[in-house]
Amino acid sequence: MVGKITEKSPIIFTKDVEYAYSNGTLALKGINLSVFKGELIAIMGKNGAGKTTLIRTFNGLIKPSKGEVLINGKNTRLKSIAELSKNVGIIFQNPMHQLFSNTIEEEIKFSLKNLDLNEEEIQNRTNIILKTFNLDKYRKRSPLNLSGGETKKLAIASIFCRNSDILVFDEPTLGQDSREIAFFTNLVKEELDKGKTIVIVTHNIEFAMENVPRTILMADGRIIADGPTRSVLNKEFLTEKSSLVLPQLYQFNSELLKVGIKCPDDVNSRNKMKSFIENYLKNKINIIPGENY
């Protein structure tokens, strides 16, 4: 089915998608999802809930046993992985699963191979991406000679240089400190500004709360919640089912309530919580009249 691509049609559309392993167990049990161009969404859930299986259907690595996956209106069953990966770039968890070239420069060029670009364009894109990721100085180095953080950057760079419309990250903040997470967050913002659609599979609840507008929760092969991050992650029964914990903000909220301190409903970000506590403290310590909560 080829749909008419307007701004109203989702760029990723799945309808009743099922996927069974060779031994018969169902990894995906009827997934219905619509993601629109320019969106940033997080997919969260227990290990084994089907998150990585689902993203593999986006670029054709997995073809659903039942149902349809449409990328840009085109059915993934009718396209090869090579074709689909031009539109959907997936950056997997372990960068060591893809590095093999003699130099970093060659590594990038390998990624550009099946895009039908001429020599000049390839060299151009390589130069740009190496600069963007601060890897230019390591251009002639072996990819095996980089630090952990830099190999992760290289893995991302080797997908970014292909300029796909949709970018999918599998656990991008694993084992990273706040510097590296800040770099990644910035990268995501820049790509969104360019009009890309971004899907992040993650366990990092705090990251999602702070940066991602929409979250999908998966459990046992199904989507159990799909909505604004701050309301999806506010429901304890959902977070339990998906093997998550309540974000610190909401835990704090509920604990405050237990001791008789009520936060206004719109305190759902770090800064708002900070202002609330600030005012509360000013009230209690300096006994400034007014400002009741």
Partner: protein, 279 residues
């Protein structure tokens, strides 16, 4: 006697120009629950490798100074000998499970040490109960989930009855619920067995409420080692680019603008206690 002693220890891996560890001096006692924190690349894993002699015996390189574990010099005592005192659970549990079944896995270390069969069975029963893995005994390692693998790896180390248990990013591959469960389990073990546990972790919000001491590392140096309260209220902790918990960061900001005076809470219960007492 200190349990762990680093005496001006420096180490450089063979083939590297830079030192991975610089002039480390540490004196760690028994019965502590310690967080090892630092930015990526600060030397946490290298420090851990020193604790049972992997550095400098297994990893080729150059060292200065000395490390003593329960009085034994890590250059002279064999790694096997040190493994009776120090148990290390490495980052990826999959690569530590070497046996064909869980049961054989847990027995493995004890078999290597020549422990009698009766003693093995006794210790196994205890550990298996503690880790809640009775139902997994006859399964193969690849059949286990990440959380199960982690518990099996832990059980197989606990049966060696180490005085020191070290874990290198134990929750990295786990989902948040599992991560919380394992960290709380470790706290319970530390309480019950009076051992010292050192955990290298990025997930501050889960681990900070549980520890009583913190080691801070940066660029291969230990830049701080003290009780949790002292470290958290210090400048160094604030300036490190680690994943500070939200509670910490809120109260830290408020402390800077003088709205808040007092010990910065590292966990929600601490913050609640403080606020509750104000009422």
């Amino acid at each position: 006697m200190d349990l762990i002693n680093f005496n001006n220890f420096s180490y450089r891996y063979k083939g590297n120009e830079e030192y991975a560890l610089n002039n480390i001096t540490l004196n760690i006692q028994e019965n502590k629950f310690i967080l090892l924190a630092g930015e990526t690349g600060s030397g946490k894993t290298s420090l851990i490798r020193c604790m049972n002699g992997l550095i400098p015996q297994f990893y080729a390189g150059f060292y200065k100074g000395s490390v003593e574990i329960a009085g034994r010099d890590t250059v002279k005592a064999s790694i096997a000998d040190l493994s009776t005192i120090v148990g290390i659970v490495f980052q990826n549990p999959e690569n530590q499970l070497v046996a064909m079944t869980v049961e054989n896995e847990i027995a493995f270390g004890m078999e290597n040490l020549g422990i009698s069969r009766d003693e093995m069975i006794k210790r196994m029963d205890e550990s298996v109960k503690l880790m809640e893995i009775e139902h997994l005994l006859h399964k193969a390692p690849f059949e286990l989930s990440g959380g199960e693998q982690q518990r099996v790896a832990l059980a197989s180390i606990l049966v060696l009855e180490p005085k020191i248990l070290i874990l290198d990013e134990p929750t990295a591959l786990l989902d948040p619920y599992m991560a919380k469960k394992i960290l709380n389990l470790l706290k319970a073990i530390q309480d019950e067995r009076d051992i010292t546990i050192i955990i290298s972790e990025h997930r501050m919000d889960l681990i900070l409420p549980l520890v009583n001491e913190i080691i801070l590392m940066k660029d291969g140096y230990v830049i701080g080692y003290d009780t949790k309260d002292k470290i958290i209220n210090g400048e160094k902790f604030k300036n490190l680019k680690i994943n500070h918990p939200i509670i910490y960061s809120i109260f830290n900001d408020l402390s800077i603008n003088k709205t808040f005076r007092g010990n910065i809470p590292s966990s929600i219960p601490e913050a609640i206690n403080y606020l509750k007492d104000l009422k």
